[in-house]
Amino acid sequence: MSLSSNGAAGSSSGAGLQRVSLKGKSRPGETVIKAVLFVAAMISVVTTIAIIITLIRPTIDFLGEASLVTFLTGTEWAPRSGEFGAIPLVKATFLITLISLLVAVPVGLGAAMYLSEYASPRVRKIFKPVLELLAGVPSVVYGFFAITLVTPFLLQDLLNIDVNFTNALAAGLVLGVMIVPTVASLSEDAMSAVPLALRQGSQAMGANKMQTTLRVVFPAALSGIAAAIVLGLSRAVGETMIVTLASGSLPNMSADPRDGMQAMTGYMATTAGGENPVGSLEYNTLFAIGLLLFVITLVINMISISLVRRFRQEY
């Protein structure tokens, strides 16, 4: 914020420019503008702090009535009758997320390998926008798709699986489709960044295209691919509308994906619709679950950032 740094055109200018900086002249106008821009940039930090404060205050009220240990380890979630164990909601979230990763990881990586290693520039030019469009479809539309087509037609009629009208399987499958573009486009970036020389070296040693892709390009891009999958995972955990529409609103401890089960975001969406007065216990549970969700995605995201930092290979 000091005046002396005004002469440097951003941090990218070299030391040469710094030396001839316009130190002599004070420019109050510039300082004011820089201060205004700084305040705008700080809004993102304020947002994070505000999120934490917003979530923590009602959670403390909530923990006054239910113990933290029960909240984190209890296996029954029924706020109206005083049962506050969040495990059923967390279990449903992770079961649905697991199913979604079983879809998104193979499909996303396959698409990424094809686009990065096999596709001609023309094919790539057609399919990359298709993936972007798939990423742009709103989640409420995926939810509609899950309950009007996937559950009744694909699962019940075509595959003859005995599923409930709301079930974790349909939610997980559709959620998987939703995060395919995330996994595919970030993995494709990582694989495209692997230098051509590695591929040429591999082929010069007699490896064919498949061996080169699987044993040279894939390991070389692994940190980026891992980060892509982790980011997809965090999207899946926080996704709301598909889970609410397709997986139902019944918290339980069932591990059977054919059953309906309420996930964390599903609980928040259904409860928020129910007009709970501010400060009531139900209102506070919303924030307690929200805080849990925030912490889980934060941890997942930190893992992703450190994966990229630790294993990044500079070519």
Partner: protein, 303 residues
């Protein structure tokens, strides 16, 4: 020997240049087919969504869909007028909040910030984390923000706009930074050498050159915001509004909220109407994406 080596080298060159090998062993073929199938799967799902929704909703694609309000009593003439208008107001509010803030933050981070200072590194790390916060959490935040600002109810256009603006702010900042970074240093150096200050250079040279990139990123961010229902649910946006919103402080409803609500109703006609509304929403999003691609191709300069 020499000729084999030359032939192999030539083949490797073609393989690398065209991406096509002459290798047709069963394993390689199966692998290629598996890769093809994954990509094809993505396309098939996109088509399945569009086609099945279009078939479901075709019967209800009429004037009533755009002209009427939601109605459970007369499901066959129920319409999404309030939601469509509400979503437009919401986009306007979101853009007015997110675009100036996003551009200002990006300009600070790219042109003014000294990256060695701890607080600037904090902003960078924080942005990465904010981009991964679940959308539904922003709804809780907007509720709190509205009560701090002193509003009785957060289910008004301003409340929804705050939630969505904070949601897309990281996207707007990140894409604006990329656009600003792509402007070559020579342009800045030239301007500085002629005696312009850093801000004059930023305002009159760097920013105008980066506008196509900024516009593309902003429109893509807004197209993500228009389909979001989860934060609006938390903000307490009503569904059955039977009037047109008339300002930023007006109660309103949004198209994705109405789609969510109608989808979970048992009546067949309401589901059909929801399918038709989905087509309207998808057309809006496709339109915004097309506009972004058009701007990118038409105005983006390569330096």
């Amino acid at each position: 020997m020499a000729s084999t080596a030359v032939a192999t080298a030539r083949e490797t060159t073609t393989v690398i240049a065209t991406g096509r090998g002459r290798d047709r062993s069963p394993g390689s073929l199966a692998f290629l087919i598996a890769l093809w199938a994954s990509l094809f799967f993505a396309v098939v799902v996109l088509l399945a969504i569009i086609i099945s929704t279009a078939i479901d909703g075709a019967a209800r694609f009429d004037g009533a869909l755009f002209g009427n309000y939601l109605s459970g009593l007369f499901p066959e003439t129920s319409g999404f007028r309030a939601g469509i208008l509400g979503s437009m107001w919401l986009m306007l509010g979101t853009a007015l909040l997110a675009v100036p803030l996003g551009i200002a933050s990006a300009l600070y981070l790219e042109e003014f910030a000294n990256r060695n200072r701890w607080y600037n590194r904090l902003i960078e790390l924080n942005l990465q984390n904010l981009a991964a916060v679940p959308a539904i959490v922003y709804g809780l935040l907007a509720v709190a923000a509205m009560s701090v600002l002193g509003f009785q109810s957060s289910g008004i256009v301003l409340g929804g706009s705050i939630a969505l603006a904070l949601l897309i702010l990281p996207v707007v900042i990140i894409t604006t930074r990329e656009a600003v970074r792509a402007v070559p240093r020579e342009i800045r150096d030239g301007s500085l050498a002629l005696g312009a200050t850093v801000w004059q250079t930023t305002w009159k040279q760097t920013l105008p050159s980066a506008i196509p990139g900024i516009a593309t990123g902003t429109i893509l961010g807004l197209s993500r915001a228009i389909g979001e229902a989860a934060p609006l649910l938390l903000v307490g946006v009503a569904v059955g509004i039977r009037f047109d919103p008339n300002g930023f402080l007006s109660a309103f409803t949004a198209l994705p909220m109405q789609i969510y609500n109608q989808t979970s109703r048992p009546q067949e006609e309401l589901q059909t109407a929801a399918a038709a509304a989905i087509i309207v929403l998808l057309v809006m999003i496709l339109g915004m994406n097309a506009l972004a691609i058009f701007i990118r191709n038409k105005f983006q300069r390569t330096w």
